[in-house]
């Protein structure tokens, strides 16, 4: 294994909540030195969102915060002071990448808008992630992942048609949009390597999430057809649904892609009524009579164990998967064999499993090198190594309330 790909790069990370930190987490896993500038007067609300270790609340105990900030460093600065802002600007001057997901205007009030940063650091790659954009009639729109997925058409495509469009049940865009941001940053980095030139990236969270529905948008634009939510059905495949299994709230997903899968499914379920029912022989018939087919399959799956049934159907080559909950995924044999979760020993709450990224590189190990930082854990290290401050100067800044 060689060094990690982004070792030596410095990221001045002004991100908070979820959508920003998920992106800078990727950069940290890849070896960049990611320094979170946490405003001590306006701490990241994610630190006080559960789940908490053992259910006990505390700003260093949140699994939400810790998972998506692993591998980073933290300096706590009082950004309401001019001295605090000056220190932040000095850090930004040395950074390769400057990232924020504040509402438009916040960075500018700190003297950290792109033009100010460019003046002191022309090679910087500077990304902001407004909800909408820095222009347009909804420029000042306030929202969360939950509202972004509603306004971008995700909710309209998601869930059971007899229910209101309540959406995926969590803030889905917060885990998608940051990857658009990372891709844009790394593309800009490639350009900088060739030309020495930095640049500004504006990632519109609205446009990024809308872009996850390109098929539906083109269908509307070209055909004038508005796609609606279909639960777990598919317009071209049947059976294709989630069926009940034995136990409390246990389910299995089965997807028969084509007639070959159907024959495999029938072979694996010999003796069941559908196998000899000529209505179901071809995909057209299965789609036409899918309600009957789904009812028969549900009656068959209901007393069975989801994982056992999954193994049986997969053994016959039929796409099937237990509907796993978070606890199932944490310990499933595939994710365990792949080493997706890594234990990191957190100084306050001990060793706990964290996500790594979803891929392995043959030439380097992409994973967080340390747990998420305590609030301000690396303040003095950053002051010494990046800001050139000695002990006496730090003490003075503590006294003035600039460092906390």
């Amino acid at each position: 294994m060689t060094a990690r790909p982004l070792e030596g790069l410095i990221v001045a990370d002004f991100c908070w909540v979820a959508a920003g930190p998920v992106g800078t987490r990727f950069l940290a896993d890849a070896g960049a030195t990611v320094i979170r500038i946490e405003s001590s007067m306006r701490p990241d609300g994610l630190r006080m969102r559960g789940p908490y270790k053992d259910g006990i609340a505390g700003q260093n105990r949140s699994g939400f915060y810790n998972n998506f900030n692993a591998g980073k460093f933290s300096i706590a600065l009082n950004m309401t002071t001019e001295r605090g802002r000056t220190l932040a600007r000095e850090l930004v001057r040395q950074a390769d990448i400057v990232a924020n997901n504040y509402t438009p205007g916040t960075m500018g009030r700190w003297g950290l808008d792109y033009d100010s940063v460019k003046a002191i650091n022309p090679g910087a790659i500077y990304i902001s992630m407004p909800m909408m954009a820095s222009s347009g009639p909804r420029r000042d729109f306030r929202g969360l992942g939950a509202s972004i997925q509603a306004i971008t058409g995700i909710n309209w495509l998601t869930g059971h048609p007899e229910k209101p469009p309540q959406g995926p049940g969590f803030n889905f865009p917060d885990y998608m949009n940051p990857y658009y941001g990372v891709f844009a940053i790394l593309s800009a980095l490639h350009h900088r390597e060739r030309t020495g030139e930095g640049q500004e990236i504006e990632l519109s969270q609205y446009q990024a999430t809308v872009s996850l529905t390109g098929e539906a948008l083109l269908d509307a634009e070209v055909n004038g057809h508005v796609q609606d939510r279909q639960g777990n059905l598919d317009p071209e495949m049947a059976p294709h649904n989630i069926y009940p299994c034995a136990g409390d709230d246990r389910w299995i997903a089965i997807a028969v892609r084509d007639d070959q899968d159907w024959r495999a499914f029938c072979d694996a379920t010999t003796g069941e009524p559908w196998a000899s029912d000529t209505r179901f022989e071809g995909v057209v018939g299965r789609l036409e009579h899918r309600a009957d087919l789904d009812a028969a399959i549900a009656a068959w799956t209901r007393p069975q164990d989801a994982h056992v049934l999954m193994a049986r159907l997969q053994g016959a080559g039929v796409p099937a998967g237990a509907v796993q909950d978070g606890r199932d995924v944490l310990d499933d044999p595939q994710i365990t064999a792949r080493g997706h979760y890594v234990a990191l020993d957190h100084p306050e709450i001990g060793p706990l499993r964290h996500d790594t990224q979803s891929f392995r590189l043959s030439g380097s190990d992409i994973r967080p090198a340390r747990p998420a930082p305590l609030l301000g854990e690396h303040t003095e290290w950053v002051c010494e190594h990046f800001l050139g401050l000695d002990r006496a100067q730090m003490d003075e800044l503590y006294g003035e309330g600039v460092l906390t």
Binding site: P137, G167, A253, V323
Partner: protein
């Protein structure tokens, strides 16, 4: 933003994409930044071209998702079952930076195109494999579709309502999640190649990608030993409630936090807010316990307004409300118009341009290049393959 120049961030890169549903978005993201992306398809075209709905009449170059993800790429057909086809692929890989593929683990090895032999012949090549479960592990040979990936990765369990079956996210998002992760991972390998001079293997697992997208379901289990279930609730004022307006739905977040702003707004609209006065209402627990009482006033209030009226008035008092839009709303949305989100592109020769979506970001120096024409299967075979033969290549 500064005025963009005509530079493109990845204009120096060549990508060979062994086309399927897993590789499509990764290739598209690279193409959008200017990379030259060439599809390699079996004679007649890749199967995912035939997935509907179609833009107009059914045709291998008109599948809506295929168009969205492949417009602007080029296409070569080659039969990799034949020696000549494999040599054609090698010819393409010799001049490529990336090889993106989504075949089942072991399939390329069986053809003599496994990673080791590719790396030996093309040491600078970055091989990106995007598969349902990754290259190894007990489920590596399992079959999956979008629904199966969303189920096994824990995301489907979070969707739907407590009194329904779990529900996946619409729009076949598993391959979008994997495609985004793969594009980012590819760029890491590219960055590292600048130092080492060598390519490497990028082994992406959709299963892990979906698992990473569960928000806090994993941490709920790891930190508190509890299972995060389906939290959706109809007309829930405390968190993310979806309500009816006169012309559709609106989502209402942040109500307790901005309680005074909410009832102030309702009052200016002529609602008798007397029953809602009192600081206890701003406590989520109290509001949850008295949701029916609140909804008796709030539901008729929203029903008199359109989604956009309600959203804009709520946003003006700092309530994070948002209309629930469909694709039909989005293609005429003023915000997207104002940022030129849809860009006119000629997708098929001789036909009028189509307003094409997809620009997630603006880069001030190296702008989003966006789509070009949709390639017909093998349209660029002659131009790109000097060694075309009747057996392996059409």
């Amino acid at each position: 933003m500064a005025q963009p120049t005509n530079a493109s961030a990845l204009g120096d890169l060549r990508v060979i994409e062994l086309a399927d549903r897993h590789t499509a978005l990764c290739g598209k993201l690279l193409a959008d930044m200017g990379a030259d992306v060439v599809l390699v398809e079996p004679p007649g075209g890749a199967p995912h071209r035939l997935r509907g709905p179609f833009l107009g009449a059914p045709d291998p170059s008109r599948g809506a998702r295929f168009v969205y993800e492949n417009a602007g790429k080029r296409s070569v057909t080659a039969d990799l079952q034949e020696e000549a086809g494999r040599e054609s692929l090698h010819d393409l890989l010799a001049e490529a930076d990336f090889f993106i593929e989504g075949t089942k683990p072991g399939a390329l090895e069986a053809l003599g195109l496994g990673y080791e032999s590719l790396a030996e012949r093309h040491p600078r090549l970055i091989v990106v494999s995007i598969t349902d479960f990754g290259q190894d592990g007990p489920w590596a040979a399992h079959e999956a579709t979008d629904l199966i990936s969303m189920a096994l990765g824990g995301v489907a369990y979070l969707g739907g309502f407590p009194d329904t079956a779990p529900a996946r996210i619409g729009g076949a998002q598993a391959s979008n999640i994997g495609g985004l992760h793969a594009a980012c991972a590819s760029m890491l390998a590219l960055h590292q190649r600048a130092t080492t001079g060598r390519g490497q293997r990028v082994d992406v697992s959709l299963h892990e990608a979906v698992a990473y997208t569960q928000e806090i379901a994993m941490q709920a289990a790891e930190y508190e030993g509890i299972v995060r279930g389906r939290l959706n609730k109809e007309e829930n004022p405390v968190e993310h409630g979806v309500y009816r307006c006169s012309d559709g739905y609106i989502i209402c977040t942040s109500i307790p936090r901005n309680w005074d702003a909410l009832i102030g707004w309702m009052s200016t609209r002529g609602v008798d807010i007397a029953p809602l006065i009192g600081e206890e209402w701003a406590k989520p627990g109290y509001l949850a316990a008295h949701a029916a009482e609140f909804n008796a006033i709030f539901v008729p209030f929203l029903a008199t307004m359109t989604r956009d009226e309600a959203c804009d008035e709520a946003q003006a008092v700092e309530l994070m409300f948002a209309p629930v839009y469909s694709s039909g709303d989005l293609v005429r949305d003023p915000q997207l118009e104002s940022t030129n989100y849809f860009q006119e592109r000629e997708l098929w020769a001789g036909e009028p341009p189509v307003r094409y979506p997809g620009r997630a970001y603006d880069l001030s120096v190296t702008p989003w290049a966006g789509a070009g024409p949709v390639p017909a299967p093998g349209e660029h075979t002659d131009a790109l393959l000097r060694t075309a033969s009747k057996d392996g290549v059409r």
